[in-house]
Symmetry: C2
Subunit: 142 residues, 2 copies
DNA sequence: CTTGACCTTCACACAGATGTGATGGTTGGA
DNA sequence: TCCAACCATCACATCTGTGTGAAGGTCAAG
């Protein structure tokens, strides 16, 4: 498939697909006319890239992680440099920290939303607009 | 405590603490001489901010999330605008996606590392250096 | 009083991810 | 044949989070 289709199927601007390639995250073939030609697996790959970027990982790190996610059932153990392994271990640790931070915050948001819903009496249900902001504290038995 | 101590205790450059304040994430008191004065809870708050920033959230979003994490046992239900609630729900969803993406990738890294360790025979244990990179595939029964 | 270690504000610089547009080649259908 | 819809490269701009440093105020200790 060409860049346009991949862009559409992944919801990614063409610009970004070229950028990821420039960063070495994507290596499409080229048609005789110079057009980029992507394989089917590129779709998941791009989705992975975007997810990791959105989770705060820089392309440089994603580039090192991607080989671990290659295709299912086949793990590419290439150039397993001591240094690469160390990097992966370090990044895995950082990812764990991120996960913990995100889970903590997400749960806190959930608690908050639940508390707000509890506090929202359907009393003033008549008006869908409540312009002035309420400002009070809720004691919660954690 | 003043900015220097907070910086040291959180491992954060002073520059960043001022920046977070500029973005409305931190609101320290001011001493009569103009120095910023932080309370004890600022330490955790800064750590939270940094963790979320590192997880890909922009300050604009963190600003909306922070009130949910305020102090333990007391949830501040302030200005619970319909719009704020909607935003929080949306961001919570995105955080969940990030978490899933990170977990998937982290697990893949773990599998990879395990496979590499398995492949690393202590056979050539004599030489601590193995300059040339091995390049092969491992079939793994997922 | 002076020195050094703090603090203030301000401003410019940078890197990374992304937006936008100019300029031009390829290709397939009206 | 010519137009529309793709594609290519290149260059510049933007936004965010950071780094760095200048110019100057505060304060405690020598």
């Amino acid at each position: 498939m060409r860049i346009g289709e991949l862009a559409e199927r992944t919801g990614t601007p063409r610009r970004m697909l070229r950028y990821y390639e420039e960063q070495g995250l994507l290596v499409p073939d080229r048609s005789p006319n110079g057009y980029r030609e992507y394989c089917e697996r590129s779709v998941d790959r791009v989705l992975q890239i975007r997810g990791l970027l959105d989770s705060g990982l820089p392309t440089r790190v994603i580039k090192q992680i991607l080989p671990c996610l290659k295709q299912p059932r086949s793990i590419h153990v290439a150039g397993a440099t001591l240094e690469t392994i160390t990097t992966l271990e370090r990044e895995r640790e950082r990812m764990t920290q991120r996960i913990e931070c995100l889970i903590r915050s997400r749960d806190a948001i959930s608690d908050y939303l639940e508390a707000v819903r509890g506090a929202r009496r359907p009393a003033g249900a008549g008006g869908p607009e409540r312009p002035a902001a309420a400002d009070y504290d809720l004691a919660v038995s954690a």
